[in-house]
Point group: C2
Chain length 429, copies 2
């Protein structure tokens, strides 16, 4: 057990740029979780951490203290290795949907505990909930059985994992302390380590539509998380991937499920296929199965079979028609030429404002709402031809969504030079 | 009126080292006072202010916003000018007691709104409350009448002055954000400006027994406060004065009243007389009466007459015997030689632990408790002769008080060189 400390002593230590001791960290995380440290004290500490930082030992200890605040899962009884993926969140980022069944079809179990969306980035559970009948909440027993029988599960994280993180995250959200790399890294990694995955691949997004706008910051976050995973005995690799342009051709819920099914069927947008395969290779390598090429398994149709089994196991009907929005509005290209820029944040905000995302955790989302873009950077466009289709159940939302798209793309004269940005920007191990 | 802002926006602006706009400051102080900004949000902002600072415009606006949160007093109807003094707090700092009646006896009204002690520094009201019958709480009408008739009043600040400061001070106390110079300066000056004094002298203490241990920090605080006073149209001067050694020969409540009465009677410790006269000269100059020499008025006995009138006006009996502690304990000099150091913090802690001060705002204090020191730095002492007398109503308190004094003084062989530290270290105008 940790010795007794005083909240003001811990705050002042970090305020004055000292390292927090193991005992101080254990005490303050535990005392905050059980209410002995006040929210106003934790928010002052969070601001001091944001401004003065924490070193690797402190972040590692903080992460372990958050893990210790709740239960841990254990997949060691499964007959196959486990691997998981976490994305820091982007626009049109439906990669988990084709990725989890693909990796499972390769023989590695994928226990994906996911969240719902907040703000302009979509949530994996929101997307899957557009499938008729599908349910996000599973008991631990159901989860274990599905992992053994199907090999992949995407479900809501139980409330028992890292409750300290849940409480702290809600506090950071209202106190301007979300953007602290030590707190972001420990928040993500405490949940993933408590989840008990054997290996982990991190997709750290960089660009206008991502949390990290800057490559150096994203690299620092990735290095911090890889170190945390490694310290906890979880084989962890991070890819830094571009999020200046949205992924695929859709941002929404049902429309992203459809795009994912297209990928599983052997089609779909090239960038979604590319990133799905890149992450699948990392997950397989982390689980010791780099002998398998996921492209072959995708082409074989086995990943689609696993997808259907995964959806059915959670009471969803993978063959039922997906919900459609009541209203649509087409934005046409204002000129002819080459689309040289499509801003991820602009598209993400538009989809959010159309009803695909939520402003508060308790808000509902529209299954059919979202944005389809008919061209990607590098594509030629013709004046008057469709550039975006906006979808919503509430036609009153079009105006603000259209505002978000203003200035969100550039069309330059045909023949203009265009250099596509690489999708995978760096790899951290 | 200020436009609407969002707490997170204001926090993030200061977190990211931006200047806060006038409108942001007005909004956040007002919204915090009325509960629309949560305590956890204000504590994150206070930490960001502590670590990233505020410029002169921001501090001035913040001070004005705190003043605007409550009522303002107005002494312009008095027949004489007003001048006030504020000390940042020290050990044995009873200067207000002889100073207020002395300046009043010189023809300048002194409206002293004081506080109670917290921690190792004593509170002026606690000291005066050791006088039988004396009461600290006056109505505004009583205060005005006493200022007109007697010329001096020392009383509790009403709850109507700068309520934002009261709320913020309590929050800073539990969140490790007390030591922010912009917040210390605006806290002190918002109350003094709202009080409505025409001129103000600040006694900024420096040394082990003071809040500011370091001369540069104290100078920064003094400059900030002088600028705030000047911006608000209050003639403001600051003296930086030594608090490495306690003032006078006593730290407590009744024993400090007795020492103050000794000064008013023409005696008392030389340092208390020196600082009282130095501050009186500044207060008189600030009120345009530098023609008067307060030393003459002190010698004339008029200051003592004003003291008695001031105490009687608040229902106290200036001639009644003062309370005495039930128990005393004498500490003798362990060797013969010269006392070369007497640490203010050690003495202050001892007096506090004997019962002269309080740990929490709601604790009572003992009127008779405290410490008398029988030698000051530079004095010769003889082994076995009394060095300290400790006073308390609760003999169980002696042990911890004695612990505080350990290492709190040095006696060096007779003939050792000793350089006395100046009492007034600097003057900021």
């Amino acid at each position: 057990m940790s010795e007794a400390h005083d909240a003001v002593e811990v705050i002042i230590a970090k305020r004055d740029k000292h390292e927090l001791s193991d005992s101080q960290i254990d005490w303050v995380v535990d005392a905050y979780t059980r209410g002995a440290v006040d929210p106003e004290q934790m928010s002052a500490l969070a601001m001091a951490i944001l401004l003065n930082g924490m070193n690797r030992r402190e972040i590692s200890r903080w992460t372990n203290a958050m893990i210790a605040s709740g239960e841990r899962m254990d997949f060691s009884s499964l007959s196959r290795p486990t691997s998981d993926k976490h994305s820091t969140g982007g626009v049109g980022d439906k990669i988990t949907l084709p990725l989890a069944p693909l990796v499972a079809a390769c023989g590695v179990a994928v226990p994906q505990l996911s969240g719902r969306g907040l703000g302009h980035t979509g949530g994996t559970l929101d997307k899957l909930e557009s499938i008729p009948g599908w349910r996000a909440n599973l008991s631990n027993e159901e989860m274990m059985a599905q992992l053994e029988n199907v090999g992949a599960v995407i479900c809501a994280a139980g409330t028992g994992l890292a409750p300290a993180d849940k409480k702290l995250y809600a506090l950071r959200d209202i106190t301007g302390t979300v953007e602290a790399i030590p707190l972001i890294a420990s928040s993500i990694m405490s949940k993933k380590i408590a989840e008990g995955t054997g290996s982990l691949v991190l997709d750290v997004k960089v660009g206008t539509g991502a949390f990290m706008k800057d490559l150096d910051q994203a690299r620092e976050l990735a290095q911090t998380m890889v170190a945390l995973g490694t310290d906890a005995g979880v084989h962890t690799v991070a890819l830094l991937t571009d999020m200046s342009t949205p992924l695929g051709n859709t941002a929404g819920n049902a429309i992203e499920v459809q795009e994912s099914v297209d990928v599983l069927a052997g089609g779909g947008p090239a960038d979604v296929v590319e990133l799905t395969l890149a992450l699948a290779r990392e997950m397989l390598a982390g689980a010791g199965r780099s002998d398998i090429d996921p492209a072959d398994v995708l082409a074989s149709g086995k990943a689609m079979d696993t997808w259907k089994a995964m959806i059915r196991a959670q009471d969803g009907d993978p063959d039922a028609p997906l919900p459609q929005a009541k209203h649509s509005h087409v934005v046409t290209a204002p000129s002819s030429g080459v689309l040289t820029r499509l801003d991820a944040m602009a598209v993400g905000l538009a989809a959010w404002r159309l009803g695909a995302g939520r402003a508060r955790a308790e808000d509902p989302v529209q299954a059919g709402a979202g944005v389809i873009w008919h061209a990607r950077p590098g594509d030629s466009v013709t004046e008057g031809s469709p550039l975006f289709t906006l979808l919503t159940d509430d036609a009153g939302r079009f105006d603000r969504a259209l505002e978000s798209l203003e200035g969100g793309f550039d069309i330059e004269p045909a023949g203009s030079s265009f250099t596509p940005r690489a999708l995978v920007l760096d790899r951290i191990e």
